[in-house]
Every structure is written in C-alpha cells, then in structure tokens.
C-alpha cells in the first residue's frame, strides 16, 4: 500500500468484504447457537398469551420504571443519548443512507448534515460520560473488565473518526476516511464475540421475559 488512496480503496473493497463476512457469519452463528438450546414447552395452565406479551415487551422495556429513572439517571440518560445519537448518525446521515441502499436496496430521507454533526458531538460526549461513570460507579466498576472497555473503544472510534473525516480535520482526506471505514470494520468484526451482540439478542431476551409475563397474566 503506497499511498492513502490505495488504503482507501482497500478499506472500501476487500476489507469491507472480509468485515461484513465475519460480522454476518458471527451474528447468524451466535443466534443459532442460542436458539437451538431450546426452551422446554410448559404444561402449567397459562393465564394469558405468550406471543403478544413477548412482542409488547420488546418495546415496553425501553421505558424505565420511575424509581430506576431516579437511581440510574446517569446510565439511563447517557445511555439513551448515545443510542439515539448512534441511530441518527447511522441511519439518517445521507452518505450512510447511500451505503445501506447499495447493500439492501432500500432508501429513506436523511437529516441535514449540520444536524447530524451536532448529534455526533453530543453522542461523543455521552460516550465519554459513560466511560467515566463505568469506572467510578461501584456496581459498574465491579462488573467491568477488559471486554467492557475494549468494546467502548471500538464503539467510540468509528464515531470520532467519522466526525474527523466529515470535518476534514486530517489531511489527506482519503486517509481519515479510510481510517473511519477501517474502525467501523473493526467494530463489525468484534461485535459477534462480545456483549455488543446485545444489539441483536436483546430482542430475544425481552421477548422471553415478556412471554413469561404474558403466560402468568402479569400486565407489565
């Protein structure tokens, strides 16, 4: 690789293929690994339906309980700002929409670039708050290990480098754009083997949880 254009073309080409391949193989394999363990079918008399309750919980679980809002305020606020910001950056930024359309053939309107820019800054800030909080809050500190900090970094870098690329802060542009794409590829490759899988498995977990509530007639 002799120059930054070669680097950019490499990340936009073969590296993309490899990263997407590892990502999808990993995610699909992990999901099947989980699902095939199965769940015993139950004989007790149900009070309500599992399906509708399971589905409802997938959405309802996004609303926290009032006392948790008080006790877990930092985690909740910074966590939501991060996730919503991530969603906006990933799916409502026009260059990303072009990328997604080229893969799955569907497109939708985006937000103006300066709006996404502002959201990015807020998201980066939220991530830093989450990092600090993870280290100083006793429960999170105790729960956290190498994987937690590593996945934080692997999540932070694409957003940071994307912002740097958009603002053309590093010269030449192909270099910083290439670094951004490479950092995304790192995230993709790491995701299936870490807690980042929650992006997919949370739907299963919330479902199972809600299904139990439904079965037991609990209006959650």
């Amino acid at each position: 690789m002799e120059n930054s254009m070669d680097f950019l073309l490499w990340v936009r080409g073969p590296a993309f293929d490899v990263a997407v391949a590892i990502f999808l193989i990993g995610v699909v394999a992990r999901l099947l690994e989980i699902l095939l363990l199965g769940r015993k079918s139950l004989h007790s008399e149900p009070k309500g339906a599992e399906f509708s309750s399971g589905l409802a919980e997938v959405f309802k679980r996004s609303v926290p309980l009032p006392d948790i809002v008080k006790r877990g305020a930092v985690t909740l606020v910074a966590g939501y700002v991060f996730h919503i910001g991530l969603f906006i950056m990933l799916f409502l930024f026009v260059p990303h929409i072009e990328l997604i359309e080229s893969i799955i053939g569907v497109r939708w309107p985006g937000l103006p670039n300066p709006v996404v820019d502002a959201v990015t800054v807020i998201t980066l800030f939220a991530l830093i708050v989450l990092l600090v909080h993870r280290y100083i809050q006793p429960v999170k500190r105790m729960l956290s290990g190498f994987e937690d900090y590593f996945t934080w970094l692997v999540t932070f870098l694409p957003i940071l480098t994307g912002w740097l690329a958009y603002h053309r802060v590093v010269d030449p542009y192909p270099l910083i754009l290439g670094i951004h794409i490479l950092s995304v590829q790192l995230l993709l490759v790491v995701l299936p083997f870490t807690k980042l899988m929650h992006a997919f498995t949370l739907f299963l977990s919330r479902w199972y949880n809600g299904a139990t509530y439904g079965r037991r007639g609990v209006q959650s």
């Binding site: 120059n3 254009m5 936009r12 293929d17 099947l32 989980i34 363990l37 199965g38 072009e98 893969i103």
Partner: protein, 364 residues
C-alpha cells in the same frame, strides 16, 4: 535544436509587451501562492531563461493530455512559454517519423545531457510484463523510458496514466502496466495528474521550472501543492448545498436543475485534489460539477476502480450484497452445527443428572 535566445527575447519577438510579461509573472506568483515580492525574481529569471530541451515520451496513452494542452483557442503567455521550449521529440506534434524521429531524440539527449526535461504521458507495461503490449520503433516502452531519463534533469509525468497508471492499470490491468514513478527511482519526478490535466497546470509547472530551475513543492503523491493542495470538495461552489443536505438524486430532478450537490450521483470531489473548482477548464469556462456531472476523481490513483462514477463515495467498491448473502448462509451452517452440538451437550448433561435425595443433602 536548441538555440541560444532567452525566453525574454523569445516573448518579445512574439509581440509580448513588457507590461504583458510582468502581468504574467504576477499571475504566476499568485498561482504558486508566492508573495508579491517574488515577482521581480520571477521576471528576472524568466527573462534570462534559456530554451530548455524537452523530450516528450508518449506510451500507453490516449493523447488526451496533448489535446488538452494544445486546445487553447486563445494564445496565452503559458502557451507561448510552451512554444518557447525546444520540443525536440513529440509523437503527435513532430513532423519527422520513423528513424529520423528516433535520431532526433537521441541527438537531443546527447547534446543536452544532464539538462533536458523528459515529459511522459501514458503508463508503461511493467518490467516483468510482455514488452510487446506497447513498443515504439521496436523498442519497449520500459527500455525507451529508462534510456531516455538517464541524462534528464527532471521528469514530468503528465496525466494520471503516467503519474499513477491511469486507465491501463484499471482492473484487470491486462498489460501489467505501471506508473512512471514505479520504475524511475533516481530522478526528480513531478506528477501532474488529471484525465486530462488542466492546461494551465501543465504550463504552470514548466513556468516554475524555468523560473526557479527546480521543481515546485510536491505533496505525498508527488503533485505540485500549488495546484493539487486543495480538494475539489473544499473549493466547490456547490459546497453549501452539501452542508445543508440538499442533494440532486437524478440528473434531471429539481435538485439537479437547482444546482444542488452531486454527492449522491457519485461525485468524488471529497477525495479528489485538483484545481478544477478554481482554475476550471477552457480558460475558466466551466468544469464537470458546474456542468452538472459529478467529479470522477480523475487526478487520483486508481480512480477507475474507485467504485463507479455514479455510486456515492460512501458505497463500497466490492459486491457486498453477494458477500452478505454468502456469509449468512455460511453462518447458518456453522450456527446449526454449533447449536446442535450445544443441544447434544445439554442432553448429555441432563442424562448425567442423578436424583438429589435429602440423605445426600444431609451428608453434604
């Protein structure tokens, strides 16, 4: 043949007034981002400059670079400077052909040893390629290039083909073509890429060389920073639309007619470094984006393989959909295998369960 008149004398003979000459020197200084205090120095140097011998080698090229250079419809001082150089060898422009042409080249090399400039357009089949892909007078491009640059003062690679390989190196590169800088390692090289380059850029480099007897400041890709130091994106007049998120989505929609940003139609402006957005083409008439077509990125290495002229820069160059489909299938196979193994392990563990009795608990 070289004669001993200076550039100053040559210009005067062609009717360029002192005033006109000084205006040109000021414009040159400004284009090179040099301070006004340099103007007298530029004037003095150019005044005294000897007619350098220039040998122009054309290899795997389309002659577009020469066309670009010679198509100025109004004589400019740059054009006259070009006329001033002693163009001792050029396939398209020279009158001689065959043995006579080659003899002229060799004579120029011999007489001006160490002082002539070699201008190259087109890429060459690499040293490990079949030389038969491109020969001149029975000599392979590679041999002619290496032989000709031996006594050169400097090499100017004009056009993206010479600078980075251009079209011939595009996938699958059947001629195993390489760029000039890939094989010439011991001479100063200036890359003047573009497909073709803007004429004033070519002559500007020559003017710099004539004025300062050295090559201009180059970037990491060997291009003169004066002309290639800014990206198209940073100088594009449509940039406010990019910033506001207003994009043309087809070539004839409302956005296109209103002159909105062409990012979604494949414009490679963000990754491209050239002077098109400021110097423009045809003496400042227009340039691709202004005409409503996205920048191709033609002054960058491998722009032909950069993912399609009409696909946005953020789209990968590989067929990701196909990879994705294959990966999902592979993941399913691996996942089912792993999942079934898990199931078997769980059943085996359950079979190993021995009923817990309170007697056992009591022992515990």
């Amino acid at each position: 043949m070289v004669d001993s008149i200076t550039l100053g004398e040559s210009l005067r003979r062609q009717g360029v007034s002192r005033r006109g000459f000084m205006k040109f020197c000021a414009a040159t200084a400004s284009m090179m981002a040099l301070p006004p205090s340099m103007i007298p120095a530029i004037a003095a140097s150019l005044e005294k400059a000897r007619r350098p011998s220039v040998i122009w080698l054309s290899f795997q090229e389309c002659t577009g670079c020469t066309e670009s250079l010679t198509r100025s419809h109004a004589p400019t001082v740059e054009g006259l400077i070009f006329d001033h150089i002693s163009l001792d060898y050029h396939h398209t422009l020279q009158v001689a052909s065959g043995d006579q042409a080659e003899a002229a080249r060799e004579a120029a090399m011999h007489e001006n040893a160490g002082k002539y400039i070699v201008v190259v357009d087109g890429s060459i089949p690499g040293p490990d390629s079949n030389p038969g892909y491109s020969t001149i007078a029975g000599i392979s491009n590679y041999d002619m290039l290496m032989e000709t640059v031996k006594g050169a003062a400097a090499v100017i690679a004009v056009g993206t083909c010479a600078a980075y390989g251009g079209l011939p190196v595009a996938n699958p590169n059947p001629t195993r073509a390489v760029a000039i800088q890939d094989v010439v390692k011991d001479k100063p090289i200036v890359n003047v890429p573009g497909c073709p380059p803007i004429p004033t850029v070519i002559t500007g480099v020559l003017a710099h060389f004539l004025t300062f007897a050295k090559l201009p400041e180059l970037d990491s890709l060997g291009r003169p920073v004066a002309f290639y130091g800014q990206s198209i994106h940073d100088r594009c007049y449509r940039r406010p639309f990019y910033d506001k998120g207003l994009f043309a989505e087809t070539f004839d929609d409302e956005g296109a007619r209103k002159g909105w940003c062409l990012y979604r139609l494949g414009c490679k402006g963000p990754m491209t470094y050239n002077a098109c957005a400021t110097a423009k083409w045809n003496l400042g008439t227009s340039w691709p984006v202004e005409s409503g077509h996205g920048c191709l990125g033609c002054s960058e290495p491998n722009f032909w393989d950069a993912g399609g002229f009409y696909r946005a820069l953020s789209i990968p160059t590989s067929d990701v959909t196909r990879t994705a489909a294959a990966a999902v299938a592979a993941g399913a196979v691996i996942g089912v295998a792993a999942g079934l193994a898990n199931k078997a392990k769980k059943s085996a563990a359950a079979k190993q369960h021995q009923t817990v009795t309170v007697d056992q608990l009591g022992e515990g």
